[in-house]
């Protein structure tokens, strides 16, 4: 079900837009990309160009970002035993944002990597943030309880948010650029950005999926997980690192896109249950489909103007989340 939802989202995401490509043509072009023997006879060359050079990379990037944020969110929620946790709670995405804003603010362009300066700095900053958060939490309390980590994450988030605001206040003409980036977008990134996020996504997701059982145990509390035989300290570090890697790489290529990491794991848990062995892969499928559709809406709803994708996910995500929250509260008190 998750997989077919994703396929549908991909096809729709590619076919619809300012220029509509017929669904059947879209499928044919896609097949031709995968299998060279499929002929493109009778298909408009412009359509082929739009699909393979503009729409396909955009859809794939949206899918990867959505998947990365959703699986990281699912893992953080399980680890922190808090259904309200997401990649932002730990300060990771704020860290990545600071990396990106610093690049924009100082007009940085590091030698050798050049155009890759922004994503590379973003990922570096997200790692730096999670190390600082963990290190700080460890200073407060050696056993690093979940509550301590969340509190530390929130403190770091606020601090880093203030840094970003400071840079925005000091900036002149780049203001629009920075704000545009902060609102998040997957447009005009091309295949290059896919190459940046893909390895981090594959490694991070694989690590998390291999830790599904441990996440199940940890979601019953760290003491319980320890009693069940989980090496809690080590697994916690591994999961936090993998989640940060996924978040950092997603923020690097698309800016801050909120609510995906919060709402999608919730939705997946409601539909398929909380077992992380299924929850993590299903979050990947649902998260990518969700972001592809959100991107589709962002560029078609008031075409030709494109809305930032972060606006769409927040507009859909926040009310959906409020409804979920009300429902679970009603269930608990009922």
């Amino acid at each position: 079900m998750g997989a077919s939802f994703l396929l549908l989202a991909i096809v729709l995401g590619i076919s619809l837009g300012t220029v509509k490509v017929p669904i059947l043509s879209t499928i044919q072009i896609l097949l031709a990309q995968l299998f060279p023997f499929v002929s493109l006879d009778g298909i408009d060359q412009m359509h082929v160009n739009i699909v393979s050079n503009i729409r396909l990379p955009r859809v794939i990037l949206a899918g990867l970002v959505g998947a990365a944020l959703a699986i990281a969110g699912a893992a953080f929620q399980g680890l922190l035993r808090n259904p309200l946790a997401d990649p932002y709670t730990l300060g990771v995405s704020s860290g990545a944002s600071v990396g990106a804003v610093v690049t924009l603010f100082f007009q940085l362009s590091l030698p050798v990597i050049g155009a890759f300066t922004l994503p590379v700095l973003s990922i570096l900053f997200s790692f730096l943030t999670i190390f600082l958060v963990i290190g700080f939490a460890q200073k407060i309390e050696r056993s690093m309880r979940v509550e301590t980590i969340i509190l530390t994450g929130i403190i770091f988030s606020s601090f880093l948010g203030a840094l970003i605001s400071l840079m925005i206040a000091l900036t002149g003409e780049e203001l629009r650029q920075i704000i545009g980036w902060l609102l998040g977008s997957v447009s005009m990134r091309g295949w290059v950005y896919i190459k940046i996020i893909l390895p981090f996504f594959l490694i991070g997701s694989a690590i998390l999926i291999f830790n599904g059982k441990e996440l199940n145990a940890m979601s019953f509390g760290e003491e319980r997980a320890h009693h069940l035989g989980v090496n809690v300290q080590r697994r916690k570090h591994i999961i936090l690192m993998a989640g940060s890697m996924l978040t950092g790489s997603a923020v690097a290529v698309s800016g801050t896109i909120g609510f995906v990491g919060l709402v999608i794991p919730h939705l997946a848990r409601m539909l398929w249950g909380p077992d992380h062995k299924h929850l993590l892969p299903l979050s990947v499928l649902t998260g990518s489909a969700f972001l592809i559709l959100a991107d589709l809406v962002s560029r078609t709803i008031i075409a030709p103007i494109e809305l930032p994708i972060g606006v769409i996910t927040a507009l859909i995500g926040a009310p959906v989340f409020a409804v979920i929250l009300l429902k679970t509260r009603a269930e608990r008190s009922g």
Binding site: S219, R224, H227, L228
Partner: protein
């Protein structure tokens, strides 16, 4: 075997547990007792490896705890948590299956048939099999507790640690849980170490008890040795009394509430105003319940009672279930059977004799109904079986004072000795044997005390209370027998 040697430790360098040593053998159940803050949970957390040991060693089968990997340790020790967080809606079976984590091998933790069998078996044993598809968040506290017990058992541990496992359980589940644990500890050679708040439950099920105070061991021994009234009072700083369990040879502790000893109130005194006699029944009603030891039809044995009824029945009274009949009678007449001692007699109740006897601070109120038609010599046992006919000498003694258990028993002895003497003085004969009678076949006795005011340790015939009883029973019984005899003579002479 679990060895704890000179262990100290706690949180952040602050030693809560201090220099504790003990060991647990296979198949043994050890209870850890102690007031709040005495270090029970800290000790348990150190054994389960959650808290580090700052001094001393904990070892299992000779290997120190830190030398086991988390997975190896989970195959040896399982913990039943006091309360587990369950923020997500796992099913019961998913939850129990997590107990197999330490037994699964390889990257993919493949689920073997042995895993499946174990999970099904422990769910069966804990009665959670029928709940297996239910959502853990929808279960009651007791059901959830059993699910976590199943999860712990799925680890197939050799040591099971429990932290006040009966917290959320009602009475029947408490019993069920410990019956099961006791059985498994013997059958599977499981070592069970459990923290208890309930001293009685601990005394009932544990082989040995460990009493902690301020992080140190006060005593570690069998329940009978550990549960001593004075020791428990000192450790828990609270007033308790100890009494035997009615069925099992273990001690039970009961709390003594503050109002029990409230001396500010005027001490309640029994006097002749409590008695209401008619031809149908003699009733003594007291304002406060009295501690009573009696051989009545209803309310016999030891208990606290407020109503005392001596009911006249016809000589031909014959019910197969006379207890039930008596209870019905009491209810019909507005007495609550649970608060009433009920006796029967065929004697004319007009002949009742009662009197208050006072000696300084001690006073007793004696009520006797007597008839000697069924008089027998109890020392002659070789006789034909006697039909049950309602009791003929019923002796009630109400004491204003606080009696010890010994005093109750000695009161009964003294009263009985005096009664025998009265029968001899009055030359009452056993008509079957022709010898002097010692009583009738169905005599009843009742000693009831207010348990307030003067404390009375002993009631032998030489003590103050004993002498009062001697005097009172002697006078009242003599008078009651004479009244009854005179009535009979009067009746026969009028015939």
């Amino acid at each position: 075997m679990l060895h704890i040697q000179h262990v100290s430790g706690g949180y952040a360098g602050n030693s809560i547990v201090k220099d504790i040593s003990f060991e647990v053998r296979k198949g043994e159940m050890l209870g850890i007792l102690g007031p709040n803050g005495s270090g029970k949970t800290t000790l348990l957390k150190m054994i389960s490896g959650i808290l580090p040991v700052s001094k001393g060693t904990i070892s299992i089968d000779g290997t120190k705890l830190p030398n086991y990997s988390p997975k190896e340790l989970a195959k040896l020790i399982a913990v039943l948590p006091q309360h587990a967080a369950d923020p997500f809606s796992y099913t019961v079976k998913e939850t129990v299956s997590l107990g197999r984590y330490a037994h699964q091998k390889g990257w993919f933790h493949s689920w073997s048939t042995k895993d499946e069998e174990t999970v099904l078996r422990v769910m069966e044993q804990t009665g959670t099999l029928s709940l297996q598809h239910r959502n853990i968040q929808d279960l009651s506290g007791g059901e959830r507790q059993r699910v976590y017990l199943a999860q712990a058992l799925a680890q197939e541990p050799r040591i099971l640690l429990l932290d006040e496992p009966t917290n959320h359980l009602d009475l029947s589940y408490q019993k069920e849980l410990f019956d099961l644990l006791k059985k498994w500890s013997k059958e599977c050679e499981l070592m069970v170490v459990s923290i208890f708040h309930d001293l009685n439950l601990a005394g009932l099920y544990c082989d040995r008890l460990l009493l902690l105070q301020e992080g140190k061991i006060v005593i570690e021994d069998t329940p009978n040795e550990v549960l001593k009234q004075e020791r428990i009072q000192n450790v828990y700083h609270t007033k308790i009394a100890k009494q035997p369990h009615p069925k099992v040879p273990v001690p039970q502790m009961v709390l003594l509430p503050e109002w029990e000893n409230d001396q500010s109130e005027e001490v309640y005194q029994i006097d002749p105003s409590v008695i209401h006699a008619s031809s149908e029944r003699i009733v003594v009603k007291t304002e406060q319940p009295l501690k009573t030891m009696s051989s009545g039809v209803i309310g016999s044995g030891t208990g606290w009672y407020q109503n005392f009824v001596n009911r006249h029945v016809d000589k031909s009274y014959n019910f197969s279930d006379h207890k039930q009949e008596m209870a019905d009678y009491l209810k019909r007449n507005g007495f609550i059977p649970g608060e009433t001692v009920g006796m029967m007699t065929a004697v004319k109740l007009e002949d009742v004799t009662y009197k208050l006897y006072v000696d300084g601070h001690v006073s007793i109120f004696v009520v006797v109904t007597a008839g000697v038609g069924n008089a027998i010599d109890a020392s002659v046992i070789d006789r034909e079986v006697y039909d049950y006919t309602p009791g003929t000498i019923n002796t009630w003694i109400f004491v204003n004072g606080e009696l010890s258990e010994e005093a109750f028993i000695q009161s009964i002895m003294t009263a009985t000795e005096v009664k025998v003497k009265v029968l001899q003085n009055e030359e009452v004969l056993d008509l079957n044997t022709g010898t002097l009678a010692t009583g009738t076949s169905t005599d009843s006795i009742l000693i009831a005390a207010t348990q307030k005011g003067t404390s009375i340790e002993y009631a032998g015939s030489f003590t103050q209370l004993g002498r009062l009883i001697s005097k009172g029973v002697f006078e009242c019984t003599t008078e009651a027998i004479r009244k009854s005899r005179m009535r009979k003579e009067g009746m026969s002479s009028s015939v």
